[in-house]
């Protein structure tokens, strides 16, 4: 039985990434343009992200369980790592969506990136002041998406590394005999 347990434990100790890689980032993309939805979805998939695309701010809020009719029950497990939204949309704008997200206790920590075809400085300032993570000019570049992904992965990596360390500690405490054996082998 020792043989069965030991290799796994050594893997955890020596190479955390082999144990299991972190979940891909889940990005919620919001845009009323069909062309832009297809484009951003592809950019995100090519960057190894899981993507959910919706065509309006209202639908985005529904998806997050923040719609008018919703109660927040059942959305605790919904993991969204990043929201990318177009600015100019009919009905609710990306700016208004940003505000609603920042007002919600469940999702205010989720970074929100605004995309716009117009380089209007007061608009950019307003979005950043309201808590937007970044403001991207359309058409969005693959390098923009990769940069966002990398900076978010660093945050995820940190929490993943901590959970690995925690798991190592728990395993040590659960199987003290085997850890002695491991030390003996080395």
């Amino acid at each position: 039985m020792a043989e069965v347990l030991l290799p796994r434990k050594m893997e955890i100790a020596n190479d955390p990434s082999k144990f299991g890689s972190p979940d891909p980032l889940h990005v919620l993309a919001v845009d009323d343009s069909h062309v832009d939805r297809k484009f951003i979805e592809r950019l995100l998939r090519v960057s190894s992200c899981k993507v959910t695309v919706v065509d309006s701010a209202t639908r985005a809020l529904q998806y997050l369980g923040l719609g008018v009719e919703e109660k927040s029950v059942g959305f605790e497990d919904l993991k969204v790592n990043l929201i990318m939204t177009d600015y100019s949309m009919p009905g609710m704008t990306g700016y208004e969506l940003l505000k609603k997200i920042k007002e919600s206790s469940a999702f205010r920590q989720v970074p929100v990136v605004i995309m716009s075809s117009e380089n209007i400085l007061p608009r950019i300032d307003r979005c950043l002041e309201e808590g937007a993570e970044d403001f991207l000019l359309k058409p969005v570049k693959l390098s923009d998406v990769k940069r966002l992904r990398d900076s978010l992965m660093k945050v995820e990596d940190l929490s993943f590394t901590k959970s690995i360390q925690k798991r190592e500690l728990e395993t040590e405490n659960a199987y003290p005999v085997h850890s002695q054996l491991k030390r003996a082998k080395i």
Binding site: S33, V35, F39, R42, V46, P139, K141
Partner: protein
């Protein structure tokens, strides 16, 4: 002696380069091509199809608005051309995008004649691009059917 594949590949290369040089396409189209691979082999064709659908719909909306002579909803025309400018920019349709900018200016100054003329040009331009891209995709198909690879074209 050139094989069929080599001939087709040369045609494809020349045609692609001409589309860029004549201003039909810009860098953004190149970016779209980079996103295409074995997992998503029809990505470019799919996106441009959506774009041409947008053109049809938005141009039709604008034409209808401009038809209400004396009672033109310039706000509607403005928002439609804004959307069209956005999609054309996203696919690299350079000439269409340029015309949208001009149309937007006419709309902002409520220049009725200018809007009508410009919209006609947008209509002609998107149809021209559609035909040219169809020719390009046909060339790609012929290369593949002849057993060749589609060459990477550096502009």
């Amino acid at each position: 002696m050139d094989t069929l594949i080599a001939q087709l590949q040369r045609q494809f290369r020349d045609y692609t380069i001409s589309l860029y040089h004549q201003g039909f396409l810009d860098d953004q189209f190149t970016e779209l091509k980079k996103l295409q691979d074995e997992c998503s082999p029809d990505f470019v064709a799919e996106v441009v199809t959506l774009f041409f659908e947008d053109c049809e719909k938005l141009i039709s909306n604008m034409a209808r608005a401009l038809d209400q002579a004396g009672n033109v909803d310039f706000k509607l025309v403005g928002s439609s051309v804004h959307q069209l400018k956005g999609s054309s920019s996203s696919v690299g349709a350079k000439r269409v995008k340029g015309l949208c900018i001009t149309l937007k200016e006419c709309c902002d100054s409520q220049n009725y004649e200018g809007c009508v003329r410009c919209l006609q040009q947008v209509d002609i331009e998107y149809k021209t691009l559609k035909a040219k891209l169809q020719d390009l995709f046909n060339l790609e198909q012929q290369i593949v059917q002849a057993g060749g690879r589609i060459p990477q074209v550096d502009i």
